[in-house]
């Protein structure tokens, strides 16, 4: 019996070897723990880096104007007060520009999504001549800094009589976000297996019906995430907003415009006001963002 021989041979390791192996093992464990600790430390530092300013702005926005001007700042908003926010909201032009911002962001969202769905679907499903060139072309829009485009854009907008209009700014924002939206939507469509569409066609759908009944419902979460991304980008965008509007300012443009002429309470309240919508939206879309990056959350 050949299988027996190793049992009769000497013990596998001497005590010294065992000790060496144990040491090696504990070193590996230590290394593992250190790496893990390092990851957590980095995550905590990053979180503080982002959360601290948000916390500061929020605290200040809910303190009395006197406390806002005081130094050192409080860590908690005591005494709690909405005076600062009231003052900000009642400032001339703020409500109006908030409304403008909302309209611009929603319009940008609609335009961008309406264009991104067919474009993304085409990139995901069809092999047409120049497909890769178009994909690259879409991205290259992002390669032009808006500063370079600014003056020609303003000139064209004035010539076309679109200058200082809410809808023209919305178009600009849609153009800025389209590259990202198209690529996100295309990847969402790619992740819907072609067989679903084919099955729908077998069971009585035209291509269009198959898209509406099967592909779109499956892609909606991803499309919604892309749409919300457009909304947040438009809500925060300030350069094009300043450049293309004068009387119909959006909120960030209005705040930026009045910033150097106003006191700390106004700045903090404005900052807080800008912050809230983005936070709310990110809260809603984080599931899809995580999905996009491969983490599955229940």
């Amino acid at each position: 019996m050949t299988g027996r021989t190793y049992e009769q041979s000497k013990p596998l390791m001497t005590p010294a070897q065992t000790a060496a192996l144990d040491a090696q093992r504990s070193r590996a464990k230590l290394g593992h723990n250190l790496r893990r600790g390092g990851t957590y430390a980095l995550a905590i530092i990053l979180a503080i880096w982002i959360l601290l300013p948000i916390w500061l702005i929020t605290t200040m926005a809910f303190s009395t104007p006197t406390d806002v001007r005081a130094f050192p700042k409080h860590f908690f908003p005591i005494p709690f007060s909405t005076q600062t926010l009231d003052f900000f909201l009642n400032t001339q032009g703020i409500l109006n520009s908030t409304l403008n911002s909302l309209v611009v962001a929603l319009l940008a969202l609609v335009i961008s999504t309406a264009l991104a769905i067919p474009a993304g679907y085409a990139i995901a499903r069809y092999l047409f001549p120049g497909r890769d060139a178009i994909r690259l072309g879409i991205l290259s829009v992002r390669a032009f800094p808006i500063v370079v485009l600014a003056v020609p854009l303003a000139v064209v907008f004035i010539r076309l009589g679109m200058f200082d209009k809410v809808h023209s700014l919305a178009m600009m924002h849609a153009a800025l976000t389209l590259p990202t939206t198209i690529l996100v939507v295309a990847s969402v469509f790619t992740s819907v297996p072609r067989e679903f569409e084919e099955a729908a066609q077998i069971f009585g759908c035209t291509r269009m019906q198959a898209f509406w009944r099967v592909v779109l419902p499956l892609a909606v979460p991803g499309i919604a995430a892309a749409a919300i991304l457009t909304f947040v980008l438009s809500w925060n965008e300030v350069f094009a907003a300043i450049l293309l509007t004068i009387t119909n300012r959006t909120l960030p443009a209005q705040i930026l415009y009045t910033l150097d002429k106003s006191g700390d309470p106004f700045k903090f309240a404005g900052g807080f006001f800008m912050l809230v919508p983005s936070l709310i939206f990110i809260f809603f879309i984080r599931r899809y963002l995580f999905n996009m990056w491969g983490q599955i959350t229940k």
Partner: protein, 370 residues
Amino acid sequence: MAEIVIENAVKRFGKFVAIDDVSLTIHDQEFVVLLGPSGCGKTTLLRAVAGLGMVDSGRVLIGGKDVTYLPPKERQISMVFQNYAIFPHMTVFDNIAFGLKMRKLPKETIRERVEHAAKLLHIETMLERFPGAMSGGQRQRVAVARAIAYDAKVLLMDEPLSNLDALLRLEMRAELKALLARLGATTVYVTHDQIEALSMGDRIAVMRNGKILQVDSPTRVYDLPANQFVGSFIGNPPMNFLRGQVRREDGAVKVKIGTLLIAPPEEMRAALDSYEGRHVYIGIRAENMETLDRPADDTLPVKVEVVEPLGSQNLLTTYVEDNMIKISTHPDFPAEVGGQVWLRFPISKIRWIDPETGEAITPDMETILA
């Protein structure tokens, strides 16, 4: 009536010819299996019938109607996909009802048909579930139920069992066969699994490199392969091929394998005559050779190299000249590695193959009829 006729179908993907001038007629209510190794064009052919990939030239007719360039919905077909393609955002009920709703049937009829199909596949308790909460086998059942409920005259199946584990596949195979026999739909079934093909089909179309090599009943495909490829692709173990020399002895055509002289059957003599002085392959199945443990007339002695007990049979491996051959024997047959056994080749079980073309040598029809 739903006869499927494929005429001279050609389909290319760039330079690659996926279907190379294929013609095939599938009779009404017949169950035809398209069998072949991956890349042989069997799925492409099925998709051409389904309307999911139109042919470049040729025609496809279903029930006498030319559907070559019609979209799937106008072909009155139904299909089961390899990875099921069950819609994840719909309940099982809505999945099965999908095609019926597209046809705008009355609600009551839809409910009846869905419940009937679900019952046939034993998933009637799962109608409110979503596919995400089901196992692979259950999803498979939903896919079949959806195809059945649609009640089309033609049912297409693209490797429906290939994603199931072995045991489940075995179970589903028998169940599906019984179910499809009851339905009486014209069925085209694609698979690369020869056992599936042999066990389920009325006829099997064996494909390779975009061509159909043979269309025949399972027994004929197994016993009388049209060529060497079909013989070695179908059957486990594959058909044995031995080199034999054709010569004339005492005025009659004989084929010599090793030390053994075989007299071919009468109807083959004329055909084999033209091979005189050359070689032919003698194709014979592992279970069709007679194995003896002592010398006898008309036998060939061979040395046993490997003995594989498989329970119901013992599989022996030996060599005749350079050709490895596998012999199936009764488990009680006394064979030992290194020992000798004697083989007899029943001439009625031999398939004669042209070694250059690989095609079976066809018997002389006039002799058969005479």
